[in-house]
């Protein structure tokens, strides 16, 4: 198919309608699913992430690219089950109990979705039991915890303890983030990683699953 470069450009530019249209065409022309994803879609997401890291793109561009990627990926979903394309992983994400902030969490969720992860966003003000049951129900590989208050960040430790008590701590990687959070705090409470922004969260998620 000649126009697959257009798919790369559509995702890079965050042009969702064009990304969807080009993907439909590629499916009709029976282009290999893995080729579409690996050679065009993922490369476009890598490039926008690279531009973000270098100050040449900003969060809005990341979001637009993720939205275009998600639109195209939805078309490919029915073909993925029978393909040899490896799944990125399943992520449960939520803001801890007492905290209603959700914009940072939703940015991370959008970027993970746009990067091929299956994301279950369970919302805000989430008690530890709900995190545990969601990880079990969805067989999540990664649990992302968010908090924006110094009064709620310590609840992340309670969530980790609940996972330990449920006997599933070693089955799921835990990523944390939020304004008062640091990598030092992540280490202190026994999380597997900390990310300061949505783009870095994708890289961290991939790194954790590869380790």
């Amino acid at each position: 198919m000649e126009n697959l470069d257009q798919l790369y450009e559509a995702i890079l530019k965050g042009n969702r309608p064009l990304a969807i249209e080009t993907t439909k065409l590629a499916i009709e022309q029976k282009v290999d699913i893995r080729t579409i994803i690996d050679n065009y879609m993922s490369k476009a997401m890598d490039e926008i992430g690279h531009r973000f890291e270098n100050g040449k793109a900003f969060v809005p561009e990341l979001l637009m690219s993720a939205r275009a990627m998600k639109g195209a990926m939805e078309l490919l979903q029915p073909f993925l089950a029978n393909s040899d394309v490896p799944r990125a992983g399943t992520v449960v994400i939520g803001t801890v109990k007492g905290d209603l902030h959700d914009i940072g969490k939703n940015l991370v969720a959008a970027m993970l979705e746009g990067s091929g992860f299956e994301v279950i966003n369970i919302g805000v003000d989430i008690p530890s039991g709900k995190f545990v049951s969601s990880v079990v129900e969805h067989q999540a590989n990664i649990l992302c915890l968010s908090a924006l208050l110094t009064t709620t960040m310590n609840y992340m430790k309670d969530v980790i303890r609940a996972l330990e008590e449920a006997g599933i701590r070693n089955k799921v990687k835990i990523m944390i983030g939020g304004a008062p959070i640091s990598s030092t705090f992540a280490t202190e409470i026994g999380a597997d990683g900390y990310s300061s922004n949505a783009n870095a969260a994708v890289a961290l998620a991939r790194q954790l699953l590869a380790s």
Binding site: F58, V59, P60, G98, N106, N121, L149, T150, T152
Partner: protein, 221 residues
């Protein structure tokens, strides 16, 4: 309820302020981003009803704490030092308002995340502008009397739980702002705190160099 409305035109958020906050310098955003920002501008003009309230109260220092209206505020070493020589204090709250929360997209999925993200930035800018406007009203009330910058619980070593004392001083639910058991204000785009007042106070003394919160979102900019 202790609350003073502010005309939105007095505190209007401008597109260039949103772009600057995101980090755009010489880089131009995609036209889709500008379209969303322009829609947001219109929504804000039509819908939001920002409010503020402050009470000027006598206060005095007791070691590292400040006694105001029967409340002993443990503002921490850094802020207490920056408030030095204040003889009275404006205890304040300000908010973008419940109407702002109502214009947020109901389902913040990736499909409307761009709008949600840009609105979040606009809301932060708006409530800070309401705070600036409130300071101008304080200056009009007390002409020629210097005052410090605004200081809020949650920053610079002043623990967030101290916010309860601010709310006790202002009367419950100032400007319609609620305070949860973990001291989360709702509407989320709200601020509260104190401003030191006195003929010999330090003005303009507030910067990241005074604060130990390495991971603060403001420091990262």
């Amino acid at each position: 309820m202790n609350s003073i409305p502010v005309a939105y035109s007095e505190v209007e958020v401008l597109p260039e302020e949103i772009l600057k906050d995101i980090g755009y310098g010489n880089t131009a955003p995609e036209s889709d981003v500008l379209d969303v920002i322009n829609n947001i501008m219109e929504l804000l003009r039509r819908k939001v009803k920002p409010r503020y309230f402050f009470a000027v109260l006598e206060g005095y220092f007791e070691g590292a704490t400040i006694s105001i209206g029967g409340q002993l505020l443990e503002t921490g070493a850094v802020i207490t030092r920056l408030l030095e020589r204040s003889t009275s204090f404006a205890v304040f709250a300000a908010t973008a308002g419940h109407e702002f929360e109502q214009i947020l997209p109901p389902n913040k999925t990736s499909d409307d995340m761009l709008t949600a993200y840009l609105l979040d930035i606009a809301g932060t800018l708006l409530v800070e502008k309401v705070g600036d406007y409130m300071e101008k009203q304080l200056e009009a009330l007390l002409p020629e009397m210097p005052h410090t910058n605004r200081f809020s619980p949650g920053y610079c070593g002043w623990h967030l739980t101290e916010q309860r004392k601010i709310f006790d001083l202002l009367g419950q639910n100032p400007c319609g702002i609620g305070l949860s058991d973990v001291c989360l204000m709702t509407p989320i785009k709200s601020i509260s705190g104190i401003i030191g007042i006195g003929s010999n106070v330090q003005t303009g003394q507030y910067a990241c160099c005074y604060c130990e919160m390495e991971t603060c979102y403001k420091r990262k900019k």
